[in-house]
Symmetry: C2
Subunit: 230 residues, 2 copies
C-alpha cells in the first residue's frame, strides 16, 4: 500500500507534471481535501485525468487559524480523524492531491506525523503558485545573490524588518492586511505586483498595488514586492 | 514570432509539465544555455521530447560572479551578444529552456531587458529544485504562519540575522561556505538537510549536515534548515 502526495500545480491543468498525471491515472483512490464546498485540487485534476472510475474520498479541512490556542486541541482531533480516514479508505495505490507544491503550506503536513510511520508515503513536487505568479508578470524572483522572503500575511507581519534584508518579499494571503501592505511598499521604494489565482480562468494581474480594485482582493492571491535598484 | 522561456524542472524528466512538453514539441528552435561542456537543461528535455528534428542553438553563459565590479562591463557585453544571437536565430516558435523554474535564479533574466521590447515572450513555470528537494526529504518548507528565507550562499551570508526571524532557511549553492553553515545551525537548534541534485540519477540526501561526506559537497545542492520547535 502506497500513498502519493501529489502537487497538482497552481490552476492551469496543463501545469500538472507528466509524473503527477501518470500517478493519478494509476491511483484507484484519490483523497481530495476541501475547505469550502468543493475541492479546488480536484477541479484541476479532472480536466486532465479521467476520474469516473476513481474512488474519490473527500476530506474536510476546517478553515481556521491553526495557531489559535483555543482551537488547538480540537484541531489535533480533526487532523487525527482525517489521518485515520486515510488509513481506513486507502487502497493499493492512492493519491492525496494538493494545490501547487506539497511542501509549501499544504494541509497534508497536518496529517503527516500521524501517518509517516504507518504507511509508505511519496511526495511528488508540483509547480507552486509563487513561481506561476512570477511567470505571469513576468518578473524574476531572484537572480545572482538576491535574497527572497516568503511570508504568510494572514497573521501579523512586520514588513520593516524584512524590507532591509531582502530583495524580494512574497506575501501570501495578503487580503486582510492589504491596505497596510500597499502603504508600506509605496513608502519604501518597492515595485509591487498583485496576482490573483495565477493561471486559472479567474486570474487577474496588477503591476502596482495601487491599481488593485477592492473586489479583486482575496485570500487566493499573492503580492510580490521587489526592491527598486538605484 | 514567439519565444517561450520554459522551466524544465529539477532533473527527473517526468517532472516536466504537460505544457512544457507540448510547447517544446511545437518549437522549431530550442535555445540551450550551458555553463560548462554540456547543457543540463537539454539532457533533461531530450529524454521526453524528440529533438532530432529541432534546431538546437547553444548559448554559452560564463560561470562568473555577476556582482563582481571588474567583470561587470564585460558581462553586459556578453548578455547583449547572447540576446542578439537569440534575435538572429529565432524562428516562428522558439523555446529557451532553463532548469527548475525560470523565475528562480535563471540566467535568462540577464537577457530579458534586451529582449522584452523586441519580441513576444511567454514564461512557462516549472517545478523548482527547492520544492523538489523538500519533497525528497520529505519535509514541509512552511505551514500556517511559518516564514521562509531563500538565500544564495555563494556570496557572503550572515545567518544569525535570518535565524531569528525565519522558521525555514533555504541555502542555495552552499558548497563554499559549507563548514560555516554546518557549525552555525548545529549551534542554534536547527534541523538540517542536505540534498544534492534532487530527482536526478546523481541525487544524494542527508538528514543532517554532519553526515555529508566531503565529496558530496558541490554547487548543485541545497541546504534546508528548519528551526526546532520546543
Amino acid at each position: 500500500m502506497k500513498l502519493y502526495v501529489v502537487g497538482v500545480g497552481p490552476g492551469d491543468p496543463e501545469l500538472l507534471t507528466i509524473k503527477a498525471k501518470r500517478i493519478l491515472e494509476d491511483s484507484e483512490t484519490i483523497f481530495c481535501p476541501k475547505g469550502g464546498k468543493e475541492s479546488l485540487a480536484l477541479s484541476i485534476v479532472e480536466k486532465v485525468v479521467d476520474i469516473k472510475n476513481k474512488r474519490l474520498v473527500f476530506l474536510n479541512f476546517p478553515m481556521v487559524k491553526t495557531k489559535d490556542e483555543k482551537q488547538s486541541k480540537k484541531l489535533k482531533e480533526t487532523w487525527e480523524n482525517l489521518a485515520k480516514k486515510i488509513l481506513t479508505e486507502m487502497t493499493n495505490v492512492s493519491s492525496f492531491i494538493t494545490l501547487g507544491d506539497p511542501t509549501l503550506y499544504s494541509t497534508f503536513f497536518y496529517l503527516y506525523d500521524y501517518l509517516k510511520d504507518k504507511i509508505d508515503i511519496e511526495f511528488i513536487p508540483g509547480v507552486s503558485s509563487i513561481n506561476a505568479s512570477a511567470c505571469r508578470i513576468p518578473t524574476s524572483l531572484g537572480i545572482a545573490n538576491e535574497k527572497i522572503a516568503i511570508i504568510p500575511a494572514n497573521y501579523e507581519v512586520d514588513l520593516k524588518e524584512f524590507a532591509e534584508k531582502f530583495d524580494t518579499i512574497i506575501l501570501l494571503k495578503p487580503n486582510k492586511l492589504f491596505e497596510e501592505i500597499k502603504k508600506f511598499f509605496a513608502d519604501n521604494n518597492f515595485q509591487t505586483y498583485y496576482i490573483k489565482r495565477a493561471t486559472t480562468e479567474e486570474e487577474e494581474i496588477y503591476k502596482n498595488l495601487d491599481e488593485v480594485p477592492e473586489e479583486a482582493i482575496e485570500y487566493f492571491s499573492i503580492v510580490i514586492a521587489k526592491k527598486e535598484k538605484f
